[in-house]
Structure formats: C-alpha cells, structure tokens
C-alpha cells in the first residue's frame, strides 16, 4: 500500500497578525482605508524596508500631511507626525534641522505634496535637504470625496471634473528630477518587492530622495473612471507598467490606456543642504 504523503499545512493566506505588527499602533487598527485601496501595500513596503535596514527606530521619524495618505503617520509605532495639509515637507525640514541625526521620511499623497505643498517640494529638492519623500499617487483627492488633483490625467472624471479633466497633469518623476532630487524612482503597489527595495535605496542615499507609488483608489478615482476593483487596477499595472531603469524622466508621463514607465530614473549624489551649511559655517569660523 502506497504511503500517503504527509499533508503539508496550507500556507496562511490571511494571517491573523500583520507581519510588521511591531511597527504598527495596533490600538488604532482597523484603519479607515477602503477595501482594495493601495495605501496598505504602500505602508507595508515602507515597514518591510525599515525591517530590512534594521535601524534603531528611535532614529526614524515619519511625517505626513493631510488626506487618506496623511493618515499613515497615525498608524505607525514610530515617532510620527500628522501635520498641516500640504506642509509635511516644511515640518520635516524643521525636524531635520533641529535633529540632524534623525532619518526623516515624508509619506503623503499627490494632492498634499504637489498641489498645496508643491512649492515646498521643489524647494526642499532644490536645497537637497536630507529626507526621503514617498508620494502615494492615486490621481485624486480621496479623503474629501474624489476631486481633481495635480496628477489627474486628461479626461479623468472626478467630482470637480464631471465632464472630464482638461488640465495638464504633473509628471512627478520629471518634476522631482528637474527640481534636483538625487534619487527618483516610481513603482506601483503591484511591484511590492521592488517598491520595498526602492524605499531601502531612497532611505540609504544622502540628500533629497523621492519614491512615487502609483496606487489604486477604487472608491473614488477607480469608480468614477470605471477602472474596476483594486485588483483590476493591479491587473492594469501588470499589463501597462514598463520597467525601464535610467529612462529619461520626461518620458515618464502617465496617459490612461497607454503603457507607462516605472523603475529608477535618477540615482546621483551632490552635497546636501546640511553639508553645504556646515561647510559655510566652518569657512566663517576659519576666516
């Protein structure tokens, strides 16, 4: 009689605990995000990246603005700050300059960082302030009910573009690169491992580093533009996201229905704001 193979326990598909629970304020869970939203994946990628780096967590601070992504700060068991709408970067700047040894991460949304906060973004990048900015780009304002944002594609339907958007959107990769970011990458929430790796790289580089995360908002942008469930958007990413490292940031435009570029666009080095500042101080003291 043949020996019956020993049954392998089925892999735990939905574990009772988040694998990165140690980084989460579990008393604040369940979170407010909708089913199928990409924000959970984006946060997990940051947490896995921090786990991989095995840093002393007392040296890490996460700063968010306001919006669905802005809620991230509230769920992290790190030094985290939920700041003013659009002002996460100025807050992070103050924090970094007061505590230069801190690793400061800004985690916020496209509206927060690039509409109301756009000026701050380009100036922090220009200064090459030591910080990592992670932008979850879901093409609209989720929290306030799905209004047009600075990344909404042409013809995108939102509550404030009921007849289709006609404003040209930002290409965030190009914007970050031209403003002076020393590291620029874009991934989607489908590319979780690569996103995690990009976050590790961004966190370990000097200067102003930027990671864009293309993410589904099934409740607002997805529903109004007939993109289906969160999973359908992931399928869309699988079909249309083309990995091309070192591509010209100008070519990273996102046009619905067309392939779009993801990968690492910029990875360079130049003196940071603090290095320049310290050099100037040394010069003054010396002279």
């Amino acid at each position: 009689m043949p020996v019956k193979p020993k049954e392998k326990p089925a892999p735990e598909l939905t574990p009772a605990r988040h694998p990165m629970e140690k980084f989460l304020r579990t008393d604040r869970i369940p979170h407010i995000w909708c089913a199928g939203c990409g924000l959970g994946t984006a946060v997990s990628c940051l947490l896995f990246a921090l786990d991989e780096l095995a840093w002393d967590l007392d040296s890490v601070a996460v700063v968010s603005g306001i919006g669905c992504t802005g809620r991230v700060a509230g769920y992290l068991k790190l030094d985290s700050y939920h700041t003013t709408h659009g002002r996460a970067i100025p807050f992070a700047t103050g924090l970094k300059l007061a505590k230069p040894d801190l690793k400061v991460v800004v985690f916020s949304g496209d509206g927060d960082l690039f509409a109301i906060g756009g000026n701050h973004f380009i100036h922090a990048a220009r200064r090459n302030l030591d910080m990592t900015v992670i932008c979850v780009n879901n093409f609209n304002y989720g929290m306030t009910g799905g209004q047009v944002g600075p990344t909404t594609p042409i013809e995108g339907r939102t509550t404030t573009t009921p007849f289709g958007n006609f404003e040209h959107p930002f290409n965030l990769v190009y914007l970050a690169a031209s403003a002076g970011a020393t590291y620029v990458a874009r991934w989607t929430t489908l590319h979780a491992r690569r996103l995690q790796h990009a976050i590790v790289e961004a966190l370990t580089r000097k200067g102003f580093t930027f990671v864009e995360v293309i993410s589904p908002c099934p409740t607002n942008y997805g529903r109004r533009n007939k993109l289906g469930e969160g999973l359908d958007e992931m399928r869309y990413y699988a079909e249309h996201a083309v990995i091309r490292h070192g591509a010209d940031p100008k070519e990273a435009e996102i046009v619905p229905g067309e392939d779009f570029l993801i990968g690492k666009f910029v990875d360079t080095e130049k003196p940071t704001y603090l290095e320049m500042y310290q050099a100037k101080v040394a010069q003054l003291r010396g002279g």
Partner: protein, 351 residues
C-alpha cells in the same frame, strides 16, 4: 420663483450663480464639498469660470484678480482653509475690492474635525488678517436664508466695495430644505464698477492698491475704509427677534444655534417661561443697538454658541452691565440639544 429641495451647500452655490457669479475658485475641504461640486457641474454651463486651485492661498488670490477686473467672484472653504485665505482677504479689503467668501465652519483649532462649530467668529468679525479692516459677515440659519443672504452678500459687497462673508457651518451645509430660489439677477441691473481694471481706453487709468509708503497717504486710505465701515454700521445691521416683547430672558444665538434656540424659545413658552430670541443675521455689523434696548428691560440675556464664547464678547459690549449676561456654549463640534439649552434657561429664570 422656483421651489426645490436643496442642501445648504448647493443652495449657496445656486444662489451665487443666480447673483451673476462669473469666477469661482476653490480648493477641496470638508464640509463644503457639495458647494464645490455643484459649481464644477453648473458654473461652466452657465457662463462662469470654475477653477479648482492648487491651494486656498491661490484661490483667494485668484478672487483678488477677478475682483480687480470688476466681475462677481467668490471662493468657499471651511475653517482651516479660511485661515489660509486671510492674507488675501486683508489685501482685498485694503484694495476695496468686492467679493464673497463662504466659510462653512468646522471644529478647530488646527485640524480640529469636520463637525459643525462656530469658533471662527472672531476671525470673521474682527478682521482675521492684518490691518484695520472689516468684512460684512452674514450668518444664515436655514437653507432658504442662506440662498437669500448669498445674493445680498454680492449686492452689499458691490455697493460698499467691501468683501462679504457667509458664515455657516457643516450642519447648514448638509441640511436639506425646500428653497424658493429667486430668479437670476439681470446682469444689466448690476451697478457699474467705474473703478475696475477694464482697460483704460478713453479714460484715465484706474489704480487699485492696498499700499502707500507715506503714512499720511495710508492714513487717508484707512480713513476711506473706516468711513465706509461707519456707513455700513448705520445702514446694514440685520437681526431677527422672536417673542422678545414680554421676555424675561432673551437668548442670543446665530446660524445653526439660532435655529436651535428658536425651538428652545417655543418649548420654554409651552412651559410658561417667558423666553425670547435675538438672532443676529449680520455678525458684522453686530446688532449692538437692538440688544442694548432689550437689555434695558430684560433682566437676563443668555448667549448660546458653538464656541467658548466669542460672540458673547459683543453681547456684553452691547449690554454693558444693564442685564445679566450668562453664557452657554459647546466645543469641538458637539451640538447641544434644545432640552440641554432649555435646562440652562431654567437656571436663569425665577420660578
């Protein structure tokens, strides 16, 4: 007149369009989302421009530009967004430019919450930005009144060349009521704006400034503003009185609280308590005189607000010790029930 069921936010938007609104600028914030969305849907079809700006600061400065060009223009937001607009509002006031600003107040300070509150009274009525200026501040307590006051706000703003504010709250914005909408204003009936920047063909160039380096010059500019404000104080005070003739206690409340206070007065009367209500409709100019007259004969004037007692200061300025002036308020977006207010009333009447 057409009678329709509308939310406060939508009625405000529709009334503004009927008042001849040409340029509307906004930025998303709760609880005034329906107003923004209504404008996005309707204004482009009806001859106006809708633009969702990159921030509240941008939106108010777009209003500044459109107002200088002489068109009817408006922005709307809620408390934190209105704070961001203050610099632009000060410039508009200093430049004597008419516009309408809608603030659907929410809980504060800081990010606060999205529940109804009245914590922006000081900001609205005392000049929220820098310098000596005032806004005409209108406080609707029902959806129909909101529609009516928006139309009035445009007229008063144009008449006096002063920015006007509609001060509502999240409850008014969300509430649905039947509204009689007045017919659209005939554009030719809107008074000319000879001061506007319309191209100086065949006339001397117009100059719009909020700036004069010489103290004497700036004093003159301020005098013009102050003279305008005195005239507004003389002519534009609006309020409603309910059952004040024989009242032993008069409540003072505005907006959403004014509406609730009306119910309190009814219930108090049913129980034989001689309660009345004074509901300011213009928060600036504030109805000091009518309150002062009431205080001559009413022993207790109870202020009820969704704040720590901001309007209360104006009530006490009006009453000047002539009557007792207790205060009842709630904070953080908590709205007291008529029953709670009634038991407060009972504490102050001799039974």
């Amino acid at each position: 007149m057409s009678r329709v069921l509308m939310r406060g936010n939508e009625a405000i938007a529709e009334a503004a369009i009927r008042a001849g609104l040409k340029c509307y600028f906004c930025y998303p914030i709760t609880p005034q989302g329906e107003l923004v969305e209504y404008m996005a849907r309707e204004l482009p079809k009806r001859g106006g421009v809708f633009l969702q700006a990159e921030s509240e600061v941008a939106a108010i400065n777009m209003v500044y530009g459109a107002a200088a060009a002489g068109v009817r223009t408006m922005t709307s937001s809620s408390s934190p967004g209105i704070s961001l607009k203050q610099e632009g509002i000060s410039y508009l006031a200093g430049s004597r430019l008419p516009c309408v600003i809608v603030n659907m107040m929410r809980g504060g300070p800081g990010l606060g919450n999205i529940a109804p509150a009245q914590g922006d009274y000081f900001q609205a009525t005392k000049g929220g930005g820098h310098g000596d200026y005032r806004l005409i501040v209108l406080a609707p307590s029902t959806v129909p009144e909101a529609a009516q006051l928006v139309m009035l706000a445009f007229d008063l703003a144009d008449k006096y060349r002063v920015p006007a504010m509609i001060l509502g709250d999240g409850m008014l914005g969300q509430m649905m009521e039947p509204v009689e909408l007045p017919p659209p204003v005939d554009p030719s009936s809107i008074p000319e704006k000879p001061w506007a920047l319309t191209g100086a063909e065949g006339r001397e160039p117009n100059v719009i400034l909020s700036f004069d380096l010489s103290p004497q010059g700036l004093r003159e500019m301020n005098r013009v503003l102050q003279d305008t404000y005195r005239e507004i104080e003389r002519s534009e005070v609006r309020w409603e009185e309910v059952e004040t003739a024989d009242a032993e206690i008069v409540l003072v409340a505005y907006g959403t609280m004014g509406r609730i206070a009306k119910t309190v007065v009814e219930r108090a009367r049913e129980e034989g308590i001689k309660a009345g209500l004074l509901r300011p409709i213009t928060l600036w100019p504030f109805p000091y005189e009518p309150l002062r007259e009431l205080a001559e004969r009413v022993p207790t004037i109870l202020t009820v607000e969704l704040s720590a007692g901001q309007m209360w200061e104006d009530v006490r300025l009006a009453v000047e010790g002539r009557a007792k002036t207790p205060f009842y308020g709630e904070l953080g977006g908590v709205v007291p029930t008529p029953r709670e207010i009634l038991s407060e009333v009972k504490k102050h009447v001799s039974s």
